[in-house]
């Protein structure tokens, strides 16, 4: 009796992974599959799934054996604590690599778990600069980060839209991080930041800070936060009789923003999006293959999730092993042509070829600028 109990306990304590003898290699994907950005989480998962299926169809051999990749999807509900628990679960499931998570807020805490478990993680959409600055060798991303996005916004605002810029952020990790980078970008390009104002991600009234900004008479207002605040903010800008240009980051670069801003939006509104617009990515057929497979249109980040999964597989191929410790060096050096273009990582794990696209509101839609 006692012996069985100990045996059971011993089994439970086992955390060591067994050498990969089987031909099935598991790859994890984590993103919010529930909650208000569930559609984006599903989009990412589908992107990764398409990659896995296409590599399986082509047939990949590692270590002389034919390998079948299997995607395990998990839901982090865009919540850091859930993200950690799910990260642990997916590590328990014995994945050899992870595509995810979607939000910086969940990816950063979870990255610690993957790194200490020694499992490579590639986020297709977390843009916070900190993610790759933690000194974790197992953490990568395929998307340009906030520093790159902020400097594009800052440069565009200061050089094309006017010298004097007011910045508002929503005091979230995303909004504050991006706002700091925008400020740097504005100053580096000869503009001045007339003021930094703040709101929060549950606010609906911005009249006080907008009135304060109005008194300083800036040329541009930059808002770094989500569409749910940005849309109503644009409305109040009009109601207070402020006539400036308005720029928002990728959090506001959505159809939702246009809906919420109602008749207040005009061609004085701009936004940025990390990555290329769908019709400019390298693999022109991606959109149709995706639609054919999942019956849904690509939302935003699916191509980057595809490339993240592809990078994991290319790394395994190059190292001729699916053992994370063995293929990690190969993953760091991997370079191949993915659906978004060339894919390669710098020494921190950031993408080497990150692109940022600027959009302007025209005739009811965000339209990409050259």
């Amino acid at each position: 009796m006692k012996k069985t109990l100990i045996a059971v306990a011993v089994l439970g304590l086992m955390a060591g992974t067994v050498q990969a003898q089987e031909v099935v290699v598991k790859i994890g994907h984590v993103g919010p599959l529930t909650g208000n950005i569930a559609h984006l989480g599903k989009d990412n998962e589908n992107g990764a799934r398409l990659a896995v299926e296409e590599y399986n169809a082509k047939g990949v051999s590692i270590g002389g054996k034919k390998v079948k990749f299997e995607l395990i999807g998990e839901d982090d509900a865009a919540d850091p604590k859930t993200g950690n628990i799910v990260a642990q679960r997916i590590v328990d499931a014995g994945v050899k690599g992870v595509v995810g998570h979607l939000n910086s807020g969940t990816t950063i805490p979870a990255s610690r778990i993957y790194n200490s478990a020694g499992i490579p993680m590639i986020s297709p959409s977390s843009t916070n600069v900190t993610l790759t600055q933690q000194g974790f060798p197992y953490i990568f991303r395929t998307m340009a980060n906030d520093a790159q996005q902020g400097s594009v916004i800052g440069k565009y605002a200061a050089t094309k839209l006017g010298k004097k810029v007011a910045i508002i952020d929503d005091r979230t990790a995303y909004g504050q991080g991006l706002a700091d980078e925008v400020e740097k970008g504005v100053k580096a390009n000869g503009g001045t930041v007339s003021s930094r104002e703040f709101t929060n991600n549950q606010a609906t009234d911005f009249s006080a800070i907008l009135t304060k900004i109005k008194a300083q008479n800036p040329d541009v207002i930059v808002y770094t936060g989500m569409d749910a605040q940005g849309g109503p903010m644009l409305k109040q800008i009009k109601q207070l009789g402020i006539k400036t240009r308005f720029v928002t980051g990728d959090g506001g670069c959505t159809p939702e923003f246009i809906k919420l801003a109602g008749d207040s939006i005009s061609d004085a509104a701009y936004c940025t999006q990390a990555g290329l617009p769908l019709d400019q990515i390298a693999d022109k057929g991606f959109k149709d293959r995706f639609k054919k497979r999942f019956g849904a249109d690509v939302q935003i980040y699916a191509p980057y999730a595809y490339d993240a999964a592809a990078a994991l597989i290319e790394g395994m191929k190059a190292a001729n092993s699916s053992d994370p410790a063995k293929y990690l060096p190969a993953l760091k050096k991997v370079q191949f042509k993915g659906v978004t273009g060339e894919v390669a990582f710098d020494d921190k794990g950031d993408t080497k070829f990150g692109a940022i696209t600027m959009y302007q509101f025209k005739a009811g839609n965000w339209v990409a600028l050259k």
């Binding site: 104002e197 006080a208 304060k212 809906k259 919420l260």
Partner: protein, 333 residues
């Protein structure tokens, strides 16, 4: 000068909404000694029901004018919220009148969560854009100061509602019964007051006010979503305590004061704590570099907008533990 005037207008508009919600809190508290945590969520239900009905009416009878459409939406919201208020009182609070003090507070929080969750299931998690049936095109009564027709309506109607409520409580038979119930349930019922009915009516009136506040809120900002009641709920509760909870006039004063403090605070705290405004001789060398060319070094700024409410509340309560217009009630709880 225009900026200050504009900030006062902003503060009055925000404050009126707080005041309207605070009235509901304070009525229930005055009679039951209960914090109706779910009050803010009743506001949310009001806004979303109105949204649903307005969209429906616009589709079915597009010829109907904007004002009748809005009124239909508003009435529907009020009816639903009043019914909701009655149901909440009946099921979640009535049985707990003599329970330990914290029990009704926990059910109130539970009801608040429940309403949010149900709203999330019905209306989803997205922000909905609320049709703006009253013009939001800004007017300029004074040069450089902007106000929209919706905001004017908010100011006027919350003042009117407030007066009507005070008259109701002080001049009518129903009002007298309410005051008697607030004073002492048992004695009131001995005097022939149906206290259960009076308490139910109080909840119904409070919820009706919340519905109006919800529709105003959404008409002004053009958005509605399932968690929109939380922040105004907390702020309005603060306003009610600030004015002296249980006191109708106090709720109004508390709401307006809070609105003004928030907007003027957010507008001026930054420059008030800007170290660059220190006389030159007091500035260190590193500060002077920051301050050059109109730079600033603001210790506090609009990022602290949300704590003004609590700081003011703390200060007022330390010196007047029963709120600005409060009566004797320090031992009420």
């Amino acid at each position: 000068m225009e900026t200050l005037l504009q900030q006062i207008v902003n503060g009055l508009v925000v404050g009126s909404v707080y005041a309207l919600v605070a009235l509901g809190y304070t009525m229930v508290y005055g009679i039951l000694g209960l914090i109706n945590f779910a009050h803010g969520d009743v506001l949310m239900v009001g806004a979303l029901v109105a949204l649903q009905v307005i969209v429906f009416v616009q589709k079915t009878w597009p010829a109907l004018g904007t004002i009748p459409t809005l009124l239909i939406g508003l009435s529907a919201a009020m009816i639903v919220c009043m019914a909701l208020g009655y149901i909440i009182e009946r099921t979640a609070y009535r049985r707990l009148r003599n329970a330990p003090r914290l029990a009704p507070l926990i059910t109130a929080i539970g009801v608040s969560f429940l309403l949010q969750t149900l709203a999330m299931i019905i209306w989803g998690r997205n922000y909905h854009s609320f049709p703006q049936l009253i013009s939001t095109a800004p007017l300029q009564p004074v040069d450089g100061v902007f106000i929209t027709p919706v905001q004017i309506i908010i100011l006027i109607s919350s003042a009117l509602l407030m007066v009507a409520l005070i008259l109701l409580v002080n001049k009518t038979r129903l009002g007298r019964a309410m005051r008697a119930t607030a004073e002492n349930h048992r004695v009131a019922s001995l005097m022939g007051v149906d206290t259960n009915k009076i308490i139910a009516i109080t909840f119904i009136i409070g919820s009706g006010l919340a519905a109006i506040a919800g529709v105003m809120f959404s008409s002004n900002y053009g958005v509605a979503h399932y968690a929109m009641g939380f922040t105004p709920g907390i702020k309005a509760f603060t306003a009610a305590v600030l004015g002296g909870i249980g006191n109708l006039g106090g709720a109004m004063v508390g709401g307006i004061v809070l609105g003004l403090v928030e907007s003027i605070g957010a507008g001026y705290l930054g420059s008030a704590t800007d170290l660059c405004h220190l006389p030159l001789w007091a500035q260190s060398a590193s500060l002077q570099a920051t301050c050059a060319n109109g730079g600033s070094f603001e210790l506090l700024s609009s990022n602290y907008q949300d704590i003004f409410a609590f700081v003011i509340l703390g200060i007022v309560l330390i010196f007047r533990p029963t709120g600005l217009l409060g009566e004797r009630v320090s031992d009420r709880a």
